[in-house]
């Protein structure tokens, strides 16, 4: 895989996505929110046969856009690659993304959300945490763009209780150790009126899934 431009920003990943194609054999069609983590893994492991195509991360807030966008990308790309792997969890598509992948003969990573596979789906499910709100590294960095502003909380703070009144805890699942991100996540919890919990997950099942493609 060609190396990412040092100029790539979270704002670009959110709004536009990312295309890094270098005639690899495997194409990863991923959420833009996972771009940095996927690139870290491919670089660390020397997986030069994997190309990356990220869709806009802001689809996180509009899950109905994910399945059609992934479908279009598979159709556009399948003639060029020996294998395509979708690096989206269900992500609120209500099983539609899995059905699409099954219909098109493409594999995807398992799990309901990225914050589930980052911890490891089995461990995440076992916790049965109903009242936790999860942030990953990307979501901490993009907290205002993905949550605070779209939910209108910058303009109408009184809505906070309507949105998060049933939550108790903000869990920051860290993929990398970064004190600045930890401080920001804690600040997010304070703004939301939630207790704060830090969990270092690294890449969890994402690393497992990509490793299986390398075999």
């Amino acid at each position: 895989m060609s190396q990412p431009s040092p100029m790539i920003t979270d704002e670009q990943l959110s709004a536009e996505g990312l295309e890094l194609r270098n005639h690899g054999q495997v194409l990863l069609i991923a959420c833009g929110a996972l771009a940095r983590e996927i690139l870290a893994l491919t670089k660390a492991n020397g997986w030069t046969h994997m190309d990356l195509q990220c869709l806009p991360a802001i689809f996180h807030n509009a899950p109905e856009k994910i399945t059609p966008a992934v479908k279009a990308m598979i159709e556009r790309s399948r003639a060029e690659y020996a294998e395509i792997f979708v690096v989206y969890a269900d992500c609120g598509t209500g099983g539609q993304l899995q059905r699409l992948c099954d219909d098109m003969g493409v594999s995807m990573i398992a799990g309901p959300h990225c914050y589930s596979f980052f911890e490891g789906n089995a461990g995440f499910e076992a916790r049965e945490e109903l009242t936790c709100f999860y942030l990953t590294d990307f979501l901490v960095r993009q907290f205002d763009a993905f949550f605070w502003r779209p939910m209108g909380l910058d303009r109408h703070p009184k809505l906070l209780d309507m949105y998060f009144g049933n939550y108790t805890t903000l869990v920051y699942q860290a993929q990398i150790q970064d004190p600045a991100l930890e401080a920001k996540a804690e600040e997010c919890a304070r703004r939301m009126g939630l207790t704060y919990q830090y969990r270092f997950t690294s890449y969890g099942d994402l690393a497992v899934a990509l490793t299986s493609l390398a075999d």
């Binding site: 899950p63 609120g92 209500g94 109903l130 009242t131």
Partner: protein, 235 residues
Amino acid sequence: MSDQEDDIILSELNDEDLVAQMFDDLYDGLKEEIVEAVNLLLGRDWAPYRVLTEALVGGMTIVGNDFRDGILFVPEVLLAANAMKGGMAILKPLLIATGAPRVGKMVIGTVKGDIHDIGKNLVGMMMEGAGFEVVDLGINNSVDSYLDAIEREGPDILGMSALLTTTMPYMKVVIDTLIEKGMREDYTVLVGGAPLNEEFGKAIGADAYCRDAAVAVETAKEFMARKHNRMAANA
């Protein structure tokens, strides 16, 4: 919509202008103004049911239409709902006391494992506005919770809501239990929530999937009309 809000004295408006102003104030989510206007209309001998239907529901219908058409978004709808809630708090006991017409009764709650209740709350409020009695079971409801409420309350409609892909299959558990107990045909089952769709609603055996609160109200009314027609035919 209300750029000249500071200049408007609600008590000086005639009924027609006051209702028009309430539409604007609901649209802008101004709870205090709605509360004041509801009290003004009641003070002018408007029946509580008339205040509800002509002022509050009329205003929320505009909000609902603009949400459907992509003009308003969730934060604005929540603010409007919050304003309507202020008006409903005054009207609800009066509606009961005055024996206002009741369209039907609904038991509603989010399913087990799901704490996301914004959609459920919006549906509940809009249903009340449409003349339904609503029993809100809150969040994280087990099969037993739904069944107990159904037996206790005797509703016409059971509403279930879920935001998570992981919790929405629980709706089928509830419906299957109703079937096992021979109770399924006694109730209209409506389901909703962001990851659901019509196909899912059919697959689990619900009567209908409702994509938003306005659709839920219209669907509920439709099923109540069918029920009344059946009862009339069998009478």
